[in-house]
């Protein structure tokens, strides 16, 4: 637990630093939620709400990465989920029918789960490298989404309850935040209260040893990609509901990179094994806050990428014990006179 806290320390510090910068730029209102029209608002709450889709995808991605995998197709799956739901709803006269909305959501989730399972099957049963297996759907997926929408951007009537998924609130808290929190809790329970987490880490840490220990590693791999696909689909639904429309080409564009980034900022290694759901959450909030920070401190949009690079670099370096040792060396009392140069990777056992 202690090492867990240590792992989270640096991302949390970065997040706090970002929040402080924002408060300095725009005042304390940034962090304090306000209620208007029975709905929680305010800059920070908005960030959380907008981060919900990324959060969902990053959670799924965390599990995939724990198995030594990666899923590049989530952005395309996001678009497919959004496209299915919107296209189905606009096809009907009464866009407010509960049955219609329910079946649109259900269909979108089933299809995205199947896509996830397909990715998992390619990885587990056909032995294709995850980055390649999911690259296929990354390329084809947006095509599929466009095929569903016929290249148009289907617009759901603002009155349709479907949009509540992205705009509504329960007990004044925006629905996307509820959904993200629920999925977080569900995945946390699923992995930590059952043995799934252990088995996942085992499969990611050493697939062959796991197989010989009798673990259904292929089944677990498929399950994990399925969950990741489902999360991406759900994220697409929230995104589509928020806008009331589905943009097959641009919806969730490059979200896979942000999701991977969030996972890694949160302390999960891309080499598989240990995973940290809470860390991922912090990673997501950092990324969400960062985008607002650029606007709040008044930088032009050309700065978006540069600022992101700087923050990611800072997190990556701060998380590295070697870097901390190197930077702190002048301040540490050294027992020996002859201080050795930073001997790299030395006490890190083989991968």
């Amino acid at each position: 637990m202690n090492s867990y806290a240590k792992r989270l320390m640096w991302p949390v510090l970065i997040l706090v630093a970002l929040i402080v910068v924002n408060i300095a730029a725009t005042g304390i209102d940034f962090i304090i939620p306000s209620v208007n029209d029975g709905r929680l608002g305010g800059a920070f709450v908005n960030i959380l709400r907008r981060s919900a889709p990324l959060m969902l995808i990053a959670l799924g991605m965390t599990l995939v990465i724990a198995t030594k995998g990666i899923d590049l197709s989530v952005g395309a799956v996001y678009a497919i989920g959004a496209a299915i739901a919107c296209q189905m709803i606009i096809g009907q006269e009464d866009q407010s029918a509960a049955g219609l909305i329910f079946s649109a959501v259900a269909l979108a989730l089933v299809v995205t789960a199947v896509i996830g399972a397909w990715n998992g099957t390619m990885v587990a049963y056909f032995g294709i490298q995850p980055i390649v297996a999911t690259l296929i759907l990354m390329i084809a997926g947006r095509g599929i989404a466009q095929l569903i929408t016929g290249g148009q951007i289907p617009k759901v009537q603002d009155s349709s309850p479907f949009t509540q998924l992205g705009r509504g609130e329960i007990f004044t808290i925006p629905l996307p935040i509820w959904i993200a929190a629920l999925v977080f809790v569900a995945i946390a329970l699923l992995t930590r209260k059952t043995a799934l987490g252990l088995l996942l880490e085992s499969v990611g840490g050493n697939p062959e040893a796991s197989r010989l220990a009798g673990i259904r590693s292929k089944g677990i791999t498929v399950l994990v990609y399925l969950v990741c696909g489902l999360c991406a689909g759900l994220a697409g639904l929230i995104g589509a509901a928020n806008l009331g429309s589905a943009d097959a080409n641009n919806g969730g564009l490059w979200i896979e990179l942000d999701a991977i980034l969030a996972v890694v900022i949160g302390g999960t290694a891309l080499l598989g094994g240990r995973f940290y759901l809470l860390g991922t959450t912090i990673g997501v909030v950092i990324i969400g806050t960062l985008e607002d920070t650029i606007i709040n401190v008044g930088l032009s949009s050309q700065w978006q990428f540069t600022a992101k690079a700087i923050v990611v670099f800072a997190v990556a370096l701060l998380q590295s014990p070697e870097f901390r040792g190197w930077i702190l060396k002048p301040f540490k009392p050294k027992p020996e006179a002859a201080a050795p140069a930073p001997a790299p990777a030395e006490e890190v056992p083989a991968k």
């Binding site: 294709i128 990428f305 670099f313």
Partner: protein
């Protein structure tokens, strides 16, 4: 001393003895040929020699970054910054020669040096600070896209600088295209040269063999006393150099710089390397496989272009399906060749 000599034969099937490592690339090349023949059978003018030559014109920059990527992947790493570094390099060429008025050859050298330096830097961060390559280079992806946009948020023309004409100056082989000949610009030869040099370095120098050793097991390479630090940093320097060289080639190819160029090029490069039979886990693969991978990538696009009847979305879907078919076939061929434990 002993009287008996200890003998052990490798357990693998004798037919493929020693050839197993060539199976993935063999499968790639075989499928490449099948694809090409399929194109000829179905499309008019597909048999023109210029169709193949065209691959080495349009994909010369991709080939160069894919070669750099091969080094990185062979060592067990990954470099996501290449697309952005490439765009940045093209933009820097334009900026230095058009705005700053520096002589073009000097600008080119500066850009190449900068790309290499960036590779050294990020390699050092990865090695000494043990930062995951994916993240360290993702920083590069964002950083250089940002810097490129900060230099200019519009496209810039370099046509006034004569030096940039050199790359597209071309050589004809076997007469005009109409007469069954084909032509290649100088920049294609630069790409060929990069491939040859990379091949020689990877297979015939200590640095190259060290790359394979580290990809096999970094820990072992360290314990064997190999210069791990130098090699690991070296591969990122190679990749940085290749990315900036690709940027320079792009400058030659279009004589213009566009801040949004090459978005996603890193994925194309990774795909080409992996299709060419290199394992992402490192230690196994060939630079010639990468050439085949780039050709597969290009030929798939060419096939779709020749078909011409696909809408935007069907083109993407067909591309995905072709890629899938390719990878599955490659898998099947490779599996039946290998005799491994289940």
């Amino acid at each position: 001393m002993t009287t008996e000599t200890l003998t052990e034969r490798p357990a693998r099937s004798t037919l493929f003895d020693g050839l197993t490592k060539y199976i993935p690339i063999g499968a790639t090349v075989a499928l490449l040929i099948v694809m090409y023949l399929g194109g000829i059978a179905n499309f008019k003018n597909f048999d023109s020699a210029q169709v193949i030559a065209g691959l080495f014109i349009d994909y010369a920059p991709l080939l160069v970054i894919a070669v750099g990527m091969t080094f990185v992947i062979l060592s067990g790493g990954i470099d996501l910054s290449v697309g952005s570094v490439m765009a940045f390099s093209t933009m820097a060429c334009a900026w230095l020669t058009v705005d700053a008025g520096i002589s073009a050859p000097l600008a080119m050298v500066l850009v190449l040096a900068f790309g290499t330096l960036w590779g050294l830097l990020i390699g050092a961060v990865i090695h000494y600070f043990n930062v995951q390559p994916f993240i360290a280079t993702l920083v590069g992806l964002f950083l250089f896209r940002g810097l490129t946009l900060q230099i200019s948020d519009t496209d810039v023309s370099m046509r006034e600088v004569d030096f940039w004409q050199w790359g597209m100056t071309h050589v004809e082989f076997g007469g005009k295209v109409r007469d069954g000949g084909f032509w290649l610009p100088y920049l294609s030869f630069v790409a060929f040269a990069v491939v040859i040099v990379a091949f020689v370095i990877l297979h015939y120098t200590r640095f190259g063999r060290g790359v394979y050793a580290i990809g096999g097991s970094e820990q072992s390479a360290l314990l064997m006393g190999l210069p791990v630090a130098r090699t690991k940093i070296g591969v990122y320097a190679v990749s940085g150099f290749c990315a900036s060289l690709a940027g320079v080639l792009a400058a030659f190819a279009t004589k213009s710089a566009n801040p949004l160029a090459n978005v996603g090029a890193e994925l194309d490069a990774i795909a080409a390397v992996v299709i060419g039979g290199t394992l992402l886990t490192g230690g196994a693969g060939f630079v010639l496989g990468t050439v085949a991978g780039v050709m597969v990538w290009g030929l798939l696009n060419t096939l779709i272009a020749f078909h011409g009847g696909l809408s935007s979305w069907w083109a993407r879907i067909v591309m995905g399906v072709l890629l899938l078919a390719f990878i599955l076939l490659q898998r099947v061929l490779a599996r039946s060749g290998e005799k491994r434990r289940t």
